[in-house]
Each structure stands twice: as structure tokens, then as C-alpha cells.
Amino acid sequence: MKAVAALAALVGAAVAVVAYVVISEQQSSGVQPWSNELSDNVFFARTIPFVLGAGIAFGMLGAAMTGSRPTPGRRFSGATIFGHWLITIGFVLALPTGVWQYLGGIIDKELPLRLYLIYRVHYVGAAIVLFCVAYFPVYWWQTGHYGLVVPRGQWKRHLAGFARDLPPRIGRPLARALRLDPSSAPPAEGDFTYYETAFSFPTWAFALALISLTGLIKALRYLMPVPGPILWGASTLHVAAMVLLVWKVLDHLRYVFGRWPLVAAMTTGRQPGKTEAA
């Protein structure tokens, strides 16, 4: 299985590299009288399928290297740590550049840097995020690591536990609004808290799905006609997803800084008393 997954990853990487080289050559041939910005837009749009394919192939490789048996004393596998830090780099590149593209228009200001360079960095970050958006689901599917997913029929219990674990000033009104009984949730079993299963992971998944889908629609317009209203809706929701992700990053850092062993585990993989769960 490891050999097959390694072969799939190798083929995925090779196809992505060949696609990159071929598209680069076509773009730089000078046949099309495109500006730097338009050329980058088309380049990014054409490379997306290969980035997603490489993400799938490497997700299979990560799963094969990890296996499905939990390892005592390890909280996160090497494949999870790799994906986590890779998507962090993607965020560091894509979020500030995305925020500037939006904010520059709002306040009507320009940086001394050329706009196409900001877009170029944004696209590199976006490509990394898209790679990870394909990588993680395949990895989880292949390893069966579903610890962060609320099991069917368990949503009420997880939400009740989440409301109970919040500060009372926030948790009580939330429980009342959702008609939850916080006492009905036993202490969280497994490796993840109710905060992580009922709130953090679902909001990450929603924000990442929204920014990926709307980003794909925005990129698609450089390859085929996209109706104006759909493009307008995608652009608006892309900005909304960006703000959600800005907030998610802040909340994630706040949460893990208060639980330092989690930060250490995302570096070394080890957390005493835990078994590998993601």
C-alpha cells in the first residue's frame, strides 16, 4: 500500500511539475498580448486542477505513511503536522495580500508595490491552501481519522457540551437560544473538546469550503464565460470568507496559546496521555 501511495504521489507531483513548466512556457511565449496581471490570472486558473490532483496524491501518501492504527503518546501524525504547517504558510501568504486587495479598494490607496506582485503572492498562497483542501480530506478518508467530526445524531450533545464549556455569560444565552441542556453532555471523550468538534472544526471547514469554492468561480472566468451575477456573488462571498478566516486564525491562536501542549504536539506530534487522533 505504501509503495502504491508513494507511486501515486510521485505521479501527482510529476504531473504538477510538467503542467507548471508547460503552462509557463505557453504563457511566456508572448503569443498573447497580456499584461503581467492578466497573465498571472490565467496561469493560476490553469494550474488549479494539477494543484488539486497533487493534493489528492499526497493525501494518499500521508495516509499510507501514517496507517490507521493509533499510536500511544502521539497526538498528531507527521502527515497532519506537514499539512497543518503547509496551510499555515498558505494563510500567511494569501490572507494579508487578500485583505490588502480588498482594503486598497475600500480606502482607495495603493502600495508602492505593483498590484500584480500582490496578486502573484496571493495566488501562491491560494494554491497552497487549495493543495491542503484536497490533501486533508483524502488523508482523513484513507486513515479513518474522523475524531473531529461530530457523529450522526450527536450534534445536540456536542453543542450542549460546547455551550457548557463557554464562559457562563456567553454559554447560558447560547444554550437557551438553541434549547440545549448543558448538563446533558458528559465530559468530552476522546481526544478533542466539544469546542473543537462542535464549533472550531465545523467553522474551519465552512470557511475553507466557501473561500475555495468562490475562489474557483472567480478563477474560472479566465477560462470560460461566467455570468455577471454569479461572479458578483462569488466575489462578495469570497471577501466574507476571507474575514471569517481572519477571525478563525485569531480565535485558533487564542485557543491553542491557552493550551500550550497542543502547540508542542503540533510541532513534535507528541502529547503525553494522548493517542494519535488526527
Binding site: L103, V243, D251
Partner: protein, 71 residues
């Protein structure tokens, strides 16, 4: 490692608080959202408030990491 992470956290929080302030101010005075309508202005207001509040929370948590006080 903790002080480095905390300093980076403080820096990130500060940048986000500045961003939130720009969002909040732009909701009232920037011409682009005024042209786009009240929904654009409300979006900036809510986005700015959310980012600002969590920026402050992250700054507080980062400070606790530096001073060693339990969270």
C-alpha cells in the same frame, strides 16, 4: 519557544486590531462602501468589530504566555 510564539501572537494581534480599526472607520467615512450601500457598511462594521474583539483576546492570551500566568 513560548516567548517567541507570544511575541508573534502579539504582533499578529496588533496588525489585526489596526485592520479592525480601518474596517470600523471605513464603515462610516470611506466613499466606496457608501456607494455600495448600507449592507456593505454593516458588513465592514460587523467584520471590524469581530476581528477587533478577537485581536484583543489574542493579545491578552499572548501576554499571559509571556508573563507565565495561567490562562
Amino acid at each position: 519557544m513560548r516567548p517567541l510564539a507570544a511575541v508573534l501572537g502579539l504582533l499578529w494581534a496588533a496588525l489585526n486590531v489596526v485592520l479592525a480599526a480601518v474596517f470600523l472607520v471605513s464603515a462610516f467615512i470611506a466613499t466606496t462602501p457608501q456607494h455600495e450601500g448600507i449592507l456593505a457598511q454593516i458588513a465592514l462594521l460587523l467584520g471590524g468589530a469581530l476581528v477587533g474583539a478577537f485581536g484583543v483576546l489574542l493579545a491578552m492570551q499572548s501576554w499571559k504566555l509571556i508573563t507565565g500566568r495561567p490562562a
